[in-house]
Amino acid sequence: MWDYTEKVLDHFRNPRNVGIVEEPDGIGEVGSMACGDALKLSFKLDGDGRIADAKFQTFGCASAIASSSALTEIIKGMSLEEAAKVTNKDIADYLGGLPEQKQHCSVMGREALELAIENYRTGQSAGKKQLEGTVTCKCFGVTEAEIERVVRENNLTRVEQVTDYCKAGGGCGMCQPEIEKIIEKVRLEILQSKSAQSPAPRRPLTNIQRIHLIEETIEREIRPLLKNDGGDIELVDVQGNKVIVAFRGMCANCQIAPFTMKDVVEAKLREFVADDIIAVEAEP
């Protein structure tokens, strides 16, 4: 059995808002019987443009039914602007979480909601999913844009997660390399947008933090380089901006130790800890 929350089971056993609202303002339909789940969402607005009533019909497993029921509860009373911001995560959170392999049920809810809103805004009778752009997963009809979106919104890193969230890659599996590429692309974009934001000004380190950072830099950045040549290094003391170290192994008697001190040890410490560090060798 799945590890469903009590809330999921409650919404499955006692689904809220089943059916189609009379004279709906918006209808959205996603999925199909062949896909294993499908959702038809309809809503009606009140005089202020808020969602007065929302109803669903769902073919699918317990979590698909629960997600649809939760969705209708979430959006009732919302303005369309608010409803447009509802994410699949909001649906999953409302239910106290969904098993990873069932996240696609919450995505189906979000998709149906978007289609219903679009149906209201454009007045087009469709309200059904149109496959626009490149279709990456042909088994389940999932586009590149949809995959990019679930990766971005849910911070996904692995192909199996993408399958859990939108089914892509869960059929014949042929598109899995494509999905891998999409994940890489989106993650790179996220990384770039993060580094583009100006870094927060560094707060001054306490002495203890400073020593930890020096130790960490020696461990991670400096020692491996020296070990390549059979050498080693030991931190002896830190006095203000002066870092006192001792060379060991091959480095201890090395002719070019002074250069190593300046170009490796000091350079790395300046890069990772502070610009004004001076590295010196301990008195023997």
Binding site: M33, A38, Q57, C61, A64
Partner: protein, 386 residues
Amino acid sequence: MKNVYLDNNATTMVAPEVIQAMQPFFEAFWGNPSSMHAFGGEVRRHIDTARAAVADLLGAEPGEIIFTGCGTESDNMAIHGALEAADRPLNIITSRVEHLAVLSTCRHAAETRGCRLIELGVDGAGQLDLAELRKALAEGPALVSLMWANNETGVVFPIEEIAAIVKQAGGLFHTDAVQAVGKVPIDLRNVPVDMLSLSGHKLHAAKGIGALYVRKGTRIVPLLHGGHQEEGKRAGTENVPYIVGLGRACELSAAHMAEEAEAVPKLRDRLEQGLLASCPDVYVNGDRNNRLPNTTNVSFEFIEGEAILYDLNDLGIAASSGSACTSGSLEPSHVLRAMGVPFTRAHGSVRFSLSRYTTAEEVDYVIERMPGIARRLRALSPFAST
């Protein structure tokens, strides 16, 4: 709450007689059967008795029975063992409706050993086209692995005929009989099967014990190398309590076979007829004329299997489904798909599998409650007209 267990193709209740038979081997008889003292000698005799009981149920010789850890191990041992022992590369012939223990093993063996793999298709009833088997056998020397009975639909292959065809073509024949042993009579004196897999927990023994029948003269290379246990064919200290339990379970199966052959299919048919009569848009999957006596696989249109199972579970009824959501993947059962059952029906499929412990009252309870479940879920479904 009621407790109606109709998922006996998944696993069975351990028979009280089996537990009773196993008990002393945790307490008094804990010796190693290989030992040269009384602690072991006593235990060895009980293993011999169990081996004879398994052999009797199959119409085999005790020396042809190798105890294993499970049905999956038996399948792996048969397939890899026979390919490894063959003096020339063999083609592998299997079917698209095999249990994954066979299908995945064949695919893996073909890939790693560079063998050619031929997967035979089935028709809408889940039956093979034997002409296709003959054609595949004509392609060269082969190991054939075809199941005796299907775990999902209960469809029984004509194993006697298949074995004869394979032997005539000079092939090696393995059958996964995990679902058949104990449910239908098997007499290997009359059916030229070379290897046969069985699993204890499908016939009221405990989980963690299986057996492989290897006909005398059939060469296989062991999967597990080590000591001389099981005549060197399966090293490792014998799992004595479970072996004894399997022996007892086989005795019970033999004793109950005639009575079960009468009672179980009656109950199964009562359930099937009851569901067909009380729920609209219900279909039976698989060949109803050649089927295990205990299995029915029915599809409820417009609703999904996992949801049905959860509703059944709320009523204390245990069953299985071939829907995507229950298979742990996103696609419905590979068996139903191979049969060409439309996706829409496969998603709404439910398997009920009975046992000698199933009662008429339990069956009637399911018949009584199922229409309500179908109505409730169809009322939620966008596809149902009602």
